[in-house]
């Protein structure tokens, strides 16, 4: 319980942070790289949260366009096939490049992982991680180089898909798109982009990928991989949202980038292209029909908006799980990217072209050289992927988070209360009070239960091993029974005739004695010393060697208790205690009796005795049983006396109940003893046959 509370508090703190961050985000706007940096520094989990938040933010932007797309989709479900193809290919390429980038950055990311951990511990300072800075510089240089390259030869890029495959290029493209994103005003962005900016972007680019690698370490990566590869479609978008600038991944951001720029220019074409988007998505990525998809996505967005708060805070609350949940999404992007890289030149074309156009900065000239239709296609593709990507991301994030939340927080009550009402503290104390009450109640109940168990014959009978002795005796008896049967079957008729009288005599002894015992139940209880003497005598008659007389020991202990009770009559021993002791004593004596029978049976089977008169032995056993049963009745009487002695002030009715219960359990004891006795019959018969001269002949 304390653990949960601690968690809750911890998460509360973090939640505050996140909220402030979020605020910051909103204030400064998504383009602010500083904000992004600070966010990034907060470590993996937070960045995950931020991503989702960013996703949410972005979702707003996307939302409007989504609607238009939806409309478009419904209206013109026609012209998509070509574009969709192009789209898919492009997507694959992009993914591939991403993959390459991932390779380049892998090493660094490993370093980063450890850093991230440290950062997690709370240091918000940006400068803490030297390696990352170094990394940034490196990649910055690379990126610059590549950017230049691309700028110089946009045509080459367009021609050769092979070239495109080199990781640097991919990164370049992404970087460019980032640049675009940062300054969404069309073409000029590339020119204005300074080295500084590039570096920032590089960092941004890195952050998502580092997380991708980090997470697998936290979760079980293999499983996820296999799973992820399957739902490529979903994962792709996720990536874009999770990575980069203010949440959009390297290539995803490039798409966004392109989309934003191109959309402004060719709004009309985009409109057409957007309907195609959904259908394309449907056909290529196995996503439900457009209408449904639109509905879903709209819902998702809603969810996202509504629950984004819950989600984020909750993320913090149950760190690990949520992180996991969210982590999986970004991770997915990798496998998808793996799946898609098969794509060819065409896919890359648009990408590069876009990049190129941006780099050159003269959009018009590009349009003329490449043709408006070409660009339109690109735009369409871009917007398509953008839309699908963002929608899927939102969907996945929303779904996952919601699921995770729901699992641990049915109805999201806790999350809501936590986020909106801030009633945690009063609630907590209330909860604690309730818990205390509940615990007390439970303890009380358990006490009651324990009390009742204390007076339970069966419990004590089991505790003193009476039950298991009886069980073992049963096993022995069954075994003997089988043995007797097989022995008798094997015997020739004349031998059988010789042995039969003995067996019958033994049997009679067992049966008659029980009847006699029942008659003698009313008789006056034996004198204490008589009982011990008789038990010892009969055991001796059995001639089973020296065996600890447990019955005697137990009986003496009971007598001691009774004597003590009568001595200090003035002291208040409650009727409850007397009752409990009575039941316990009876159970114990019964257990020892059964124990004795069991041992006797075992020893008889071993023919340890010199005397083989089993009729006599069975008579001794019968007497023993009789004595034991009688003693049970005696003890019951004694305890009943004790009860009536103590109970003047207690309610008479209750005493009556307890007394009756003692007598009941005494007769219960007697029947157990008799059961044990009866079980010995086959044992004696077996011994009689085995030791008889008949068999030896």
């Amino acid at each position: 319980m304390s653990g949960t509370d601690d968690d809750a508090f911890a998460s509360a703190d973090e939640g505050d942070e996140t909220l402030t961050l979020k605020q910051k985000d909103k204030d400064e706007g998504p383009v602010d790289s500083d904000a992004v940096n600070s966010l990034k520094k907060k470590g993996t989990e937070k960045s995950v949260q931020q991503k989702s938040k960013i996703g949410a933010d972005t979702s707003k932007d996307v939302a409007s366009s989504t609607e238009s797309v939806a409309d478009g989709a419904v209206k013109h479900p026609g012209h998509q096939t070509k574009k969709s193809k192009q789209k898919t290919k492009k997507g694959k390429n992009v993914v591939k490049s991403k993959e390459n980038e991932g390779e380049v950055l892998k090493e660094k990311e490993k370093v980063k992982y450890s850093e991230t951990k440290q950062i997690q511990s709370a240091s918000l300072e940006l400068s803490t991680s030297k390696p990352s800075v170094a990394d940034d510089e490196k990649s910055e240089k690379k990126l610059q180089e590549v950017t230049e390259k691309v700028q110089k030869s946009p045509q080459t890029a367009e021609k050769g898909s092979t070239e495109m495959k080199t990781p640097q290029k991919a990164v370049t493209v992404e970087t460019e798109s980032f640049t675009k994103e940062c300054t969404p005003t069309k073409d000029s962005s590339v020119k204005t982009c300074t080295a500084e900016e590039t570096s920032t972007r590089t960092e941004l680019l890195k952050s998502p990928s580092s997380q991708e690698i980090v997470r697998p370490m936290q979760d079980s990566p293999n499983e996820q991989d296999s799973n992820e590869t399957k739902d490529t479609g979903n994962a792709e978008p996720t990536k874009s949202s999770s990575s980069g600038g203010w949440g959009w991944g390297s290539w995803g951001s490039s798409l966004l980038d392109m989309a934003s720029s191109s959309v402004t220019t060719f709004t009309s074409q985009v409109g057409g292209g957007l309907n195609a988007v959904l259908e394309t998505v449907e056909s290529t990525l196995n996503i439900p029909p457009p209408e449904q998809f639109v509905d879903d996505s709209a819902e998702k967005e809603k969810d996202e908006k509504n629950d984004s708060n819950d989600v984020l805070t909750d993320d913090i609350q149950d760190k690990s799980e949520r992180t996991e949940a969210i982590c999986t999404e970004p991770k997915r992007s990798d496998p998808e990217s793996v799946e898609q890289p098969k794509s060819t030149t065409k896919a890359q074309e648009p990408h590069q072209m876009q990049a190129a156009s941006k780099t050159s900065g003269s959009g018009g000239s590009w349009f003329s050289s490449w043709g408006v239709s070409n660009i339109t296609g690109i735009v369409q593709n871009t917007s398509k992927s953008l839309m699908t990507g963002s929608l899927d991301v939102l969907e996945i994030i929303g779904k996952k988070t919601f699921d995770v939340l729901k699992d641990h927080d049915p109805g999201l009550k806790r999350a809501r209360g936590f986020l909106f009402d801030r009633k945690d503290k009063p609630n907590l104390s209330q909860i604690l009070r309730d818990a205390k009450k509940e615990a007390e109640f439970r303890v009380e109940k358990e006490k009651e239960f324990e009390e009742s168990r204390k007076a339970d014959f069966g419990v004590h009978f089991d505790e003193f091993q009476g039950l298991v002795h009886l069980e073992a005796l049963e096993i022995l008896s069954q075994q003997s029974e089988r043995k007797v049967q097989s022995l008798l079957m094997a015997l020739p008729t004349d031998s059988l005739a010789t042995i039969k009288p003995t067996l019958l005599l033994i049997k009679q002894t067992f049966e008659t004695e029980i009847e006699e015992e029942e008659e003698s139940a009313d008789e006056e209880g034996s004198q204490g010393q008589d009982f011990i003497r008789l038990v010892a005598e009969h055991l001796a008659e059995l001639q089973i060697g020296s065996m600890p007389n447990k019955v005697k020991q137990t009986w003496e202990e009971i007598e001691v208790w009774l004597a003590q009770f009568h001595e200090k009559k003035d002291s208040d021993v409650s009727s409850k205690i007397v009752h409990q002791t009575a039941i316990q004593s009876l159970a114990r004596l019964t257990s020892k009796g059964i124990d004795q029978f069991h041992k006797t049976g075992e020893l008889i089977l071993l023919h340890m005795d010199s005397d083989h008169d089993y009729v006599k032995k069975s008579q001794s056993l019968a007497s023993l049983t009789k004595i034991l049963c009688k003693e049970m009745g005696c003890l019951a009487n004694k305890f009943a006396d004790c009860l009536t002695g103590t109970s003047e002030e207690d309610r008479g009715n209750e005493i009556g109940c307890l007394t009756t219960n003692i007598y009941l359990e005494a007769s219960n004891s007697s029947s157990y003893v008799q059961d044990g006795f009866r079980l010995l019959l086959p044992v004696l018969q077996q011994a009689a046959i085995e030791t008889s001269e008949v068999l030896n002949r």
Binding site: E463, A472, L476, Q479, E602, L603, C657
Partner: protein
Amino acid sequence: MVEPIFDYQFRLILIGDSTVGKSSLLKYFTDGKFADACDPTVGVDFFARLIEVEDGVRVKLQIWDTAGQERFRSITRSYYRNSVGVMIMYDITKRASFENVIGWLEEAKFHIEPHKAVYMAIAHKCDRDSDRQVSSSEGSRFAQLNGMRFIETSAKNGQNVEEAFLVVAKDIYRLLKEERIKIEEGWDGIKPGFARADERVHLAEGEPEGGGCC
């Protein structure tokens, strides 16, 4: 004194040559005491203790302590069948007792199968290392070869006594969870325990009243 509630009861049987220390080990396990002198067991004795095999899962171990003497062998044999755990003990200072383990194992398997059980070899009296005649590695190799658990114990200093039973109980519980061992009618190796307090209170309370009516 009152027996607490448990979820399952596992029946274990402890076998091995006489004087290897079966009863001593059980005494230590249940009472925490070591008795120097010990009467030879007649037939079979019983010990019981509750242990926790997992958080909140309490198991009552009912251990059948058999007589190691050869003359009781015919009797103890019949007690094997209802065991879900078999602990075969040898004395590290008596090589013969170790060499007899295989015989005990075969006998136990013969009587227990087709039921499944967990087997463990217990090397006892490991406090007497100077008199050792069976090395640890030899013991563990033998156990591994025969699909048994292995542990070295001493009832004198309490070494590994608890662990030995815990290992067996956990193994059984794991098999039970994996449903490789099941609670069966007519087989007492594993029995469900008493119900939890809240379920039983009513029943238990009702009893004395019932007595009154009679």
